[in-house]
């Protein structure tokens, strides 16, 4: 692991998520969790673009696999390292945004949160209109209801990820 990969591992640990990439949902959760961590001010250096399931970073995928392979070999070079205190506090707060439910439901929620944040912060949509967001997401073949969108926007605002 290099420093960026160590920081990635510490971030996922800070969110109390398992570093798993076995299934599509595992990988989606890691992608979106890192996206939201960066949005909250943990600067890991991953540049996201829009793909089929919302914001996605190819170089993060490569790091995920590199870290997972080492963890599979019982090598964890993040031991002995720690994040700075401010970043740790931010992760502690963000952790509460991730529900303790089955993988598929977590991935759906994180996909929605990160997609809305990406589209609003890149000025593709306004966050004031839930139906506008829902319709935009439908264009990308995402089936999120207005109610789900409204709740997601409220949570993003509550956690300081979007301005009210």
């Amino acid at each position: 692991m290099d420093r960026q990969q160590i920081a990635l591992k510490l971030t996922i640990d800070g969110l109390e998520l398992p570093f798993k990439i076995d299934t599509f949902y595992d990988r989606l959760i890691l992608q979106k969790a890192v996206y939201l961590s960066q949005a909250i001010g943990i600067n890991l250096g991953y540049y996201y673009q829009w793909y089929l399931h919302g914001p996605y970073c190819p170089s993060l995928t490569r790091d995920e696999y590199a870290v997972a392979v080492e963890l599979g070999q019982d090598i964890d070079e993040s031991k002995g390292w720690t994040l700075d205190d401010v970043s740790k506090d931010r992760l502690k707060n963000l952790k509460n945004l991730i529900p303790k439910v089955e993988q598929k439901k977590i991935s759906r929620k994180l996909e929605l949160l990160s997609s809305i944040h990406f589209l609003v912060s890149r000025k593709q949509i306004r966050c004031s209109e839930a139906n506008e967001i829902s319709n935009t997401l439908k264009k990308f073949e995402k089936d999120f209801t207005e109610e789900e969108v409204r709740e997601a926007v409220r949570e993003l605002q509550e956690y300081g990820l979007l301005a009210r």
């Binding site: 290099d2 420093r3 960026q4 990969q5 160590i6 920081a7 510490l10 971030t11 990439i21 599509f24 990988r27 001010g41 943990i42 600067n43 890991l44 250096g45 540049y47 673009q49 829009w50 793909y51 089929l52 399931h53 996605y56 190819p58 170089s59 995928t61 490569r62 995920e64 696999y65 392979v69 599979g72 070999q73 019982d74 090598i75 002995g80 390292w81 720690t82 994040l83 700075d84 401010v86 970043s87 890149r122 593709q124």
Partner: protein
């Protein structure tokens, strides 16, 4: 050597790899901007010329070559079913030309500063308090992100490209962003892209090393496109595809990860990180990603070239810090870090322990005492482990997984997860199959293997070099 003919061209550049490259008016305008001319002062292979003296070609030559490559691919794909509009064609050509516009001085060397580990951070005895990673500091952006910023915000390029909208479309293609056509973007960045095709041929030609000489004409002649613009190769070109994958692998082993070249580059990375991350006198190195972006948006960009780093190294030779001084002298006077021990490993991912991981762990445990025993500062030891996979497959697909997915599902996954997917058109099929689906491909079978070289270097400045290295090598023999 190929030749890219274009009856509407206004200028002709003769390239040593692709032959004649015909440029249109807009491309000439782009090339003539100061932002693009900066690429003349970035060596394509950073410090490789310290070993291969003729490897002095530049990002400028590679960028023109990438355009030449794109013209050849578009011509070939057009003859074989790829239907794209003249506008898209123009945008793809510009994206190829500009794909490396955001490179740092010495390219990846400076870009990856945030990933560099110093020996003090690697050894296990170091106190935890000194091993905190401050993630409030913004890392250096990747060169594609920086390139997007330059293309969409530098006035000279905005003017040359005609409009901010056109600039954004071009940048979106080379960063594979929201609005870009995903399949067309892959021509610029993927396993088989104009970047790799050109750099393998060009780096091989410039170094004199034969391994990058891919069968470009045969690949181009066998390029196919599906109705959904998915580009692949006809089955008979499979050996050329496999050769391409191996060419990249061998070029990494012989050139990019050459022990002396990599050692010098790693010494320079460590030098720059030490200067940047200390409390005083950073020698002008941007302290974080925000400062890099400020440079990219201002006229300071024009001086953000290899000479920027050369000047830092020159000043660092007289630095008060001994480790910084020794590293700088090693680079300036080409006294490269010498290998104390190297453990090369070729394995499948997932194997529990290998000689390399054992060696690395022993270094982590023993390096501090070694440094004390020989009275050499820990920072003069360089521990690294460059790695190359035959294919950068994010996920190991097995044959039954491939066959259990239909074409749309496979494509969806390829779109999001597998930049490295390669498509093969079997005889008579209009839709391609995955390269991994071809069971008799030798390279496919080994694609999950990686080569990794665990290395312990020392940068030494004493007069008793041979004696010290002999003794060190005996000490670490069984690590």
């Amino acid at each position: 050597m190929g030749c890219s003919q274009d009856s509407k061209s206004e200028k002709l550049i003769v390239d040593s790899i692709h032959g004649d490259i015909h440029l249109n008016k807009r491309e000439i305008d782009v090339i003539d901007t100061p932002s693009f001319q900066r690429l003349r002062h970035l060596k394509q292979l950073a410090m490789a010329q310290m070993v291969y003296p003729t490897a002095t070609h530049t990002r400028f030559a590679h960028s023109i070559g990438a355009l030449g490559m794109m013209i050849r691919i578009l011509d070939a794909a057009g003859r074989n079913g790829l239907d794209i509009s003249p506008e898209q064609r123009e945008q793809l050509r510009l994206a190829a030309l500009l794909h490396d516009i955001g490179h740092y001085p010495y390219s990846h060397l400076m870009e990856k500063l945030d990933r560099v580990d110093l020996s003090e951070e690697i050894v296990k005895e170091t106190k935890i308090v000194s091993k905190a990673i401050d993630k409030q500091i913004i890392p250096y952006p990747r060169h594609e992100e920086l390139g997007s910023l330059i293309v969409t915000q530098r006035p000279d390029l905005l003017e040359a490209l005609g409009s901010p909208e056109q600039a954004k479309i071009v940048a979106d293609i080379f960063t594979r962003s929201v609005t870009a056509d995903a399949q067309l973007s892959k021509l610029v960045h993927s396993s088989f892209d104009i970047d790799r095709w050109d750099y393998l041929l060009r780096d091989s030609h410039a170094t004199g090393v034969p391994y990058g000489h891919i069968d470009i004409n045969y690949l181009l002649n066998n390029l196919r496109a599906s109705s959904e613009k998915i580009l692949g190769f006809s089955l008979k070109a499979l050996p050329a595809v496999e050769h391409f994958l191996l060419a990249r692998f061998f070029m990494h082993r012989v050139v990019y990860y050459h022990k002396t070249i990599f050692g010098l580059e790693e010494a320079c990375r460590q030098l720059l990180r030490r200067l940047r991350d200390r409390n005083v006198d950073h020698n002008g190195i941007p302290l974080d990603g925000e400062q890099v972006k400020v440079i990219a948006k201002s006229d300071d960009l024009h001086g953000f070239t290899d000479a920027f780093v050369d000047n830092i190294v020159q000043r660092a030779v007289k630095d008060e810090d001994k480790v910084i001084r020794v590293l700088a002298k090693a680079i300036q006077s080409r006294k490269p870090p010498k290998l104390i021990k190297e453990v090369p490993v070729c394995e499948e991912p997932g194997s529990k322990h290998n000689d390399g991981t054992v060696f690395f762990e022993r270094c982590q445990n023993g390096l501090k005492s070694l440094s004390e025993e020989f009275d050499i500062p820990l920072g003069q030891f360089i521990l690294c482990k460059p790695k190359i996979k035959i294919m950068e497959t994010p996920r190991e697909y097995r044959a039954y997984e491939i066959t259990s997915l239909n074409a749309d599902e496979l494509r969806a996954r390829a779109h999001e997860e597998e930049e490295e997917q390669i498509w093969i058109f079997k005889d008579g099929n209009k839709e391609p199959d995955s390269f991994w689906d071809i069971e008799y491909s030798l390279v496919g079978k080994f694609s999950k293997y990686f080569f990794q070289s665990y290395r312990l270097y020392l940068v030494y400045d004493g007069d008793d070099e041979n004696k010290v290295f002999d003794k060190l090598r005996i000490t670490v023999k069984d690590w």
